[in-house]
């Protein structure tokens, strides 16, 4: 367990000290969402109609932007060798994925209501949006860990990662926006949120093992 807390704490400290990573992700999220607001024009009805999809798509791309470095820094400087030798790959994956979620998705969650307001989402849509992001972003991080482990050592891994992961992110996008739409139409939001929760449980059960296997393979 000490390896888990050590890796988690180290990654969070690094994210905090090299704050640019987190700031870039959050700024990207806000700027792209605002670009949509300008692109669509000041029609409140149109904005509100597409806002949920815009927030979710932008959040997804922002997470993708940060996944590139999830394992590659440790891979490039040799720390990953040491971690895999000295501890269980599964512990390393779990700690690093949790650190990734805390350092990138949580700032996004904090930023999301502001972005939603800029896109004129009515108040009834904010709570479902936050809940869907809370349930959906850990799944993004977990799937992302598998992708990041698979592209380790590949040339232009960042681009490959997008091609690999974005199709897998589609179901989360569908049910994330469905939850917000349900909130806006004042129908029960529970169903899409439960499905997002189901995705999360499934990802928790499968992704760490797949990512650990990917890491071991990358180091051989």
């Amino acid at each position: 367990m000490s390896a888990f807390t050590a890796v988690l704490r180290r990654d969070l400290t690094l994210a905090f000290r090299q704050g640019t990573d987190t700031v870039t992700v959050v700024a990207f999220f806000a700027i792209v969402a605002v670009l949509f607001a300008f692109g669509v024009g000041p029609e409140p009805n149109v904005q509100a109609r597409i806002a949920a999809g815009v927030v979710w798509t932008t959040a997804l791309l922002a997470v993708l932007l940060s996944l590139d470095r999830l394992f590659s820094q440790d891979f490039d400087d040799g720390a990953l060798d040491q971690l895999i030798v000295g501890t269980d790959a599964l512990i390393v994956v779990c700690a690093k994925t949790l650190a990734h979620w805390l350092a990138t998705a949580v700032p996004l969650l904090i930023m999301a209501p502001l972005v939603a307001m800029a896109l004129q989402i009515p108040a009834s849509g904010i709570a479902p949006l936050m809940l869907s992001l809370l349930l959906g972003t850990p799944t993004l991080s977990l799937l992302g860990a598998v992708g990041a482990a698979l592209v380790l050592g590949a040339r232009r891994g960042g681009v490959l990662l997008g091609v690999l992961l974005l199709p897998l992110y589609i179901p989360i996008l569908i049910f994330g926006t469905a939850a917000v739409d349900a909130g806006l139409l004042d129908v029960a939001t529970a169903t899409p949120l439960k499905i997002l929760g189901g995705f999360l449980l499934l990802a928790l059960a499968l992704c760490p093992w797949a990512a650990a296997a990917g890491l071991k393979h990358a180091l051989e």
Binding site: A3, D77, G86
Partner: protein, 236 residues
């Protein structure tokens, strides 16, 4: 079979153990790097891997560390193949490779303390490690300000954290100055006095007087001969 020699009577810090390579072969990128490679290292013994660039020193090192897989033969700890429990094998070794795994944003001390925590080493091992490699006065310095040699010393200092009986040092003499070399050979001698084992790769001078040598060039020639004669059979 190359047998390593004992430096002193084994003491009781580490359990009696022996690391054996049994007819190891390794293929990388379709090329047979070495074949029929056997060796044995016991308590207090040192084995130096000798060979030219590309003779498979790092490949063998990573294989012993559990970061690679042998295409033939077996690596054994006390007669038990290590791939039966790679995690337990990882816990009993320290590997110092070419990459240092040092985070520039952390201080020297934070870098070493992180690994002490990962490996469950007692906290005062950090100061011992820094002192052993003459890094105490640098401990508060951010690692990004270190010179190449200093970074290498920080990376090497991690081997003394905790109590791992097997040390794998891949060309540790690179970039070290005379003082650091002396410190390293002191640390190695101390480790062997306590019954620890050392496997070291080197293409030049040796830090250890009484080590056994494993001439990897010879095994690389074996591999070439096998491939030349029968490419099909050697795939096994």
């Amino acid at each position: 079979m190359v047998r390593a020699m004992t430096a002193a009577a084994p003491s009781s810090l580490y359990d009696t153990a022996v690391l054996t390579g049994d007819q190891l072969a390794c293929r990388r990128g379709g090329r047979l790097v070495f074949a029929r490679l056997s060796f044995e290292v016991g308590n207090s013994q040192a084995l130096v891997l000798r060979g030219n660039n590309g003779s498979g020193k790092t490949t063998l090192m990573r294989l012993i560390a559990g970061l690679g897989r042998a295409t033939g033969g077996a690596l054994k700890w006390n007669g038990v193949p290590v791939d039966q429990d790679t995690e337990a094998h990882g816990r009993r070794l320290r590997y110092a490779g070419h990459l240092d795994g040092i985070k520039p944003a952390f201080s020297v001390r934070e870098n070493v303390a992180f690994w002490a925590e990962v490996w469950n080493a007692p906290p005062d091992d950090v100061d011992k490690a820094l002192a052993a490699f003459g890094l105490t006065h640098l401990s508060g310095l951010p690692a990004r300000l270190l010179s190449a040699g200093q970074r290498h010393r920080v990376a090497l200092s991690r081997i003394v954290l905790g109590r791992a009986p097997l040390w794998l040092l891949d060309e540790p003499a690179n970039t070290l100055d005379d003082t650091a070399l002396a410190a390293l050979s002191r640390v190695i001698a101390d480790h062997r006095r306590k019954g620890g084992m050392v496997v070291m790769a080197s293409h030049g001078e040796s830090l250890i007087d009484d080590a056994a040598f494993l001439p990897l060039d010879e095994f690389a020639r074996h591999a070439n001969a096998i491939e030349a004669r029968d490419p099909e059979a050697s795939a096994a």
